[in-house]
């Protein structure tokens, strides 16, 4: 009796866990770019949700109850790190009661730990604005960084879900192959952008500017994290009179008004860049994000 009952239980367990709809890994990504990457690397073996959207400023998210609920059930939390999410991710960790995603656990992944950050300040002082003390965390706009993060993230997923390890590694390999082909294509397409002078909003496009060899001639924020002021914008206009820019760049989540103010007066286009996956109609995944970003920059340059 007992053995047959045990057998039935084991069979039921096996059946339940073997159901194809069962997602082995629950992943909470702090930003849409990492949600998209996790989907690429995990396929149908993972259940991915993004804590933020492209419409939201990743610096200023609140630890909403819905996010705490999602953090509670996550096996893996994938964040940018480098203090980008310092105002909210620590609360998700401390209030969710989920031991797996605590700092230092395998279930806590930080993209910034996988790459060399740029713009690391030599002196950190808040009189300089809300500087990112560990360096610029908006690292996903350099394709080489995405490749580095993908390599590490794929391996992390394989570690956490050993049963599917081969699958994660295979999908990571395939992603990196497609990614490096796409990178080569983007570099060819974006060649005419080299040296293009641009005004940025925040330092969130710095990696893109550096990768494409654009020339940043000014920023709408007077200091990092501080909203544009009329005084600063008029200084910027005067400066653009001497050293003209070809476009004003902003991300989807930025206020369009300061960019349009400068664009109209300097007679240059204001270009909204998707910044992350979901930022525009075409930025459906990481590939679309880069395709659309480059297409918009090329259109502005003409």
């Amino acid at each position: 009796m007992i053995t047959s009952l045990t057998r039935a239980l084991v069979a039921a367990t096996v059946l339940l866990t073997a159901t194809p709809a069962f997602a082995a890994l629950n992943i909470l990504a702090c930003e849409p770019e990492w949600a998209s990457l996790a989907k690429e690397l995990g396929g149908d073996k993972v259940n991915v949700s993004a804590a933020t959207t492209a419409m939201q400023d990743p610096h200023r998210i609140e630890a909403r109850p819905s996010l705490i609920a999602r953090a509670r059930s996550a096996d893996l939390m994938v964040c940018t790190g480098a203090e980008l999410e310092i105002g909210w991710a620590p609360l998700l960790q401390s209030q969710s009661g989920n031991s797996k995603i605590q700092p230092g656990q395998p279930g806590h992944f930080e993209a910034a730990a996988q790459v060399a950050l740029i713009e690391v300040p030599t002196r950190v002082d808040r009189s300089m604005g809300d500087v990112h003390p560990a360096g610029n965390p908006h690292l996903h706009l350099d394709p080489a960084n995405v490749a580095r993060v993908a390599t590490a993230l794929g391996e992390r997923m394989a570690q956490l879900d050993r049963g599917e390890a081969a699958g994660y590694r295979e999908r990571t390999r395939s992603f990196l192959e497609r990614w490096s082909q796409a990178t080569a294509r983007w570099q060819k397409e974006a060649a005419p952008l080299k040296g293009m002078p641009v005004v940025v909003y925040h330092k969130d496009n710095s990696y893109l500017v550096k990768w494409l060899g654009l020339r940043e001639v000014g920023s709408l924020e007077p200091k990092p994290g501080l909203p544009p002021t009329t005084a600063h914008l008029s200084d910027l206009l005067a400066q653009l009179g001497k050293d003209p820019a070809k476009a004003v760049l902003r991300s989807t989540y930025n206020d369009p008004r300061p960019a349009e103010f400068i664009a109209q007066r300097a007679n240059i286009p204001a270009v909204m860049l998707p910044y992350t996956v979901g930022g525009t109609e075409k930025a459906k995944d990481l590939f679309g994000l880069y395709d659309d970003t480059i297409a918009r920059l090329l259109a502005a340059q003409k």
Binding site: P65, E83, G97, Q105, H108, A150, L176, Q187, K194, G213
Partner: protein
């Protein structure tokens, strides 16, 4: 295992090969990139490290020769991405360092809050009383007139080890007294969504109770908090919370503690002097709305909890209460921001309803007449407030407070041993208050606030208050709860 060094050398070669093609004018950032790559790979691939070292040396030598310091060529960076698929071959890699080291290595994160006020009030703040309610003896009422220093807060937090997190919030009062606001440990490794907290902490009851004073939307606490909890409720004890594994946020919590603070008092007994239960539910409505609501229950016992009053003849008396008190709270908060982006504009609606009962023995004029009989209070109160950020740096807010004296059954008055005039603090009065505020936030770390209030806490008198307040946060970026 024999194959590993061979494979590693092959990878090293592949990494090194494209370099030669692009390395005509290596810039400083390129060198930095190679240096960082080295650091990351050091642990697992000794061989590759040596190859990279050679690359670095070569590049440095060439950089020294090169006169021009051209901007980094985009093409030069493709080597990393094209070479990476090779590096991604399945290898039993160790768990990578998962976080960029933050703050000062193992030192606790330290932050400091500086606050101060300038106040004009039409009534003397030293005589502040909420008529109709037992004085709590807590930090209630408006700040002192003229310039006044607020509470300075010093916050230390860090993980103790893989199992606990610790925090200390010390408050430096303007009268030079140092007090411990919070000093607790919290588990980070319990399974099943459980968190245990121990030490002194702000109780999980209500909504505003767990929010630190410097993060409040008005300078002072709602009247209901002042009347029923002495401003806010601190526990010295244990708290267990559980977050349910559901898509909707569900949190249940319970606390047992000493219950030394109002409405309890130090009862010098073994066992818990207070117990609290709370349940919170929350979620999103679309992308633009987030909400949370909850119910809470607090039970405390008091022994010889005293307050000072004047009797009908105008003489100072001290009255004391021994018994139990229960508080129920229903709270709710709703936040709106366009597409969930609160940077430019957002609205916050918040309200809480309190019911409080006290039952026990009440001694009138402890040192003199010392008449003891029963006391039964069944009172209630609520507040509702809204704050609207209409421009990136500007917020405006309004709050309405109301308290209902409800049932006040004083045994010695019913028996005729004393009259209600002997209890001016408990005079028949239903306090209300209207408060408006405007604040300007130069950055996320500083706030300047103007607050106007018409406070009818006292019987037959309106206290018109004008307050200017500054709040500055120094140190690591604080994370504020929802």
């Amino acid at each position: 295992m024999v194959k590993a060094p061979v494979a590693a050398s092959a990878i090293a070669l592949m990494l090194a090969a494209p370099w030669a093609a692009h390395a005509q004018d290596p810039s400083a950032s390129e060198l930095a990139r190679v240096r960082d790559e080295m650091k990351a790979l050091q642990r697992s691939y000794e061989e590759r490290m040596q190859a990279l070292e050679k690359r670095l040396n070569d590049a440095e030598a060439r950089a020294a020769k090169s006169e021009t310091s051209a901007a980094p060529a985009p093409a030069a960076q493709s080597d990393a991405s094209t070479a990476l698929p090779a590096a991604a071959q399945p290898t039993p890699a160790p768990v990578a360092a998962s976080a960029v080291p933050a703050q000062n290595a193992f030192n606790p994160a330290i932050s400091l809050i500086l606050q101060g006020t300038y106040a004009r009030t039409s009534r003397d703040p030293n005589n502040f009383v909420i008529n109709g309610f037992v004085p709590s003896g807590g930090e209630v009422g408006p700040p002192p007139r003229s310039f006044g220093l607020g509470e300075s807060e010093l916050v230390f937090t860090a993980n103790v080890d893989p199992y606990f997190r610790g925090a200390l919030v010390a408050s430096l009062a303007p009268d030079n007294a140092v007090s411990v606001e919070e000093a607790y440990f919290q588990t980070i490794a319990l399974p099943q969504g459980l968190t245990l907290k121990g030490g002194r902490f702000l109780s999980g009851i209500g909504y505003q109770n767990e929010i630190h004073q410097h993060a409040w939307d008005f300078q002072d606490a709602p009247l209901a908090y002042q009347a029923f909890l002495g401003g806010r409720y601190q526990q010295d004890g244990l708290q267990l919370r559980w977050v349910a594994p559901t898509p909707v946020f569900v949190e249940l919590g319970g606390e047992i503690a000493s219950g030394r603070s109002f409405p309890g008092s130090d009862s010098n007994k073994n066992g818990a002097g207070s117990a609290a239960l709370f349940a919170h539910v929350g979620g999103d409505i679309g992308e633009s709305y987030a909400w949370r609501t909850g119910v809470s229950y607090l039970r405390t016992s008091a022994r010889n909890r005293t307050y000072d009053d004047v009797n009908a003849a105008g003489a100072a008396v001290t009255n004391s209460f021994t018994g139990r008190s229960r508080v129920w709270i229903v709270d709710g908060v709703l936040k709106w921001s366009p597409n969930g982006n609160s940077t430019y504009t957002n609205v916050k609606l918040q309200g809480e309803y309190f019911r409080a009962r006290q039952d026990g023995d009440f001694t009138f004029d402890q040192a003199g007449a010392a008449l003891t009989d029963g006391l039964r209070l069944a009172q209630s109160g609520w507040y509702a407030q809204s704050v609207y950020q209409f421009l990136p740096r500007w917020r405006v807010g309004y709050r309405y407070d109301a308290l209902s004296r409800g049932t006040v059954n004083i045994g010695v008055v019913t028996s005729g041993a004393a009259t209600l005039a002997d209890f001016p603090a408990l005079a028949v009065h239903n306090p209300t208050r209207n408060t408006a505020m405007l604040d300007f936030n130069p950055s996320e770390f500083s706030r300047l606030r103007l607050q106007l209030a018409a406070d009818k806490s006292r019987l037959g008198a309106t206290d018109n208050q004008i307050l200017l307040q500054y709040i500055h946060s120094l140190g690591p970026h604080g994370a504020h709860r929802f």
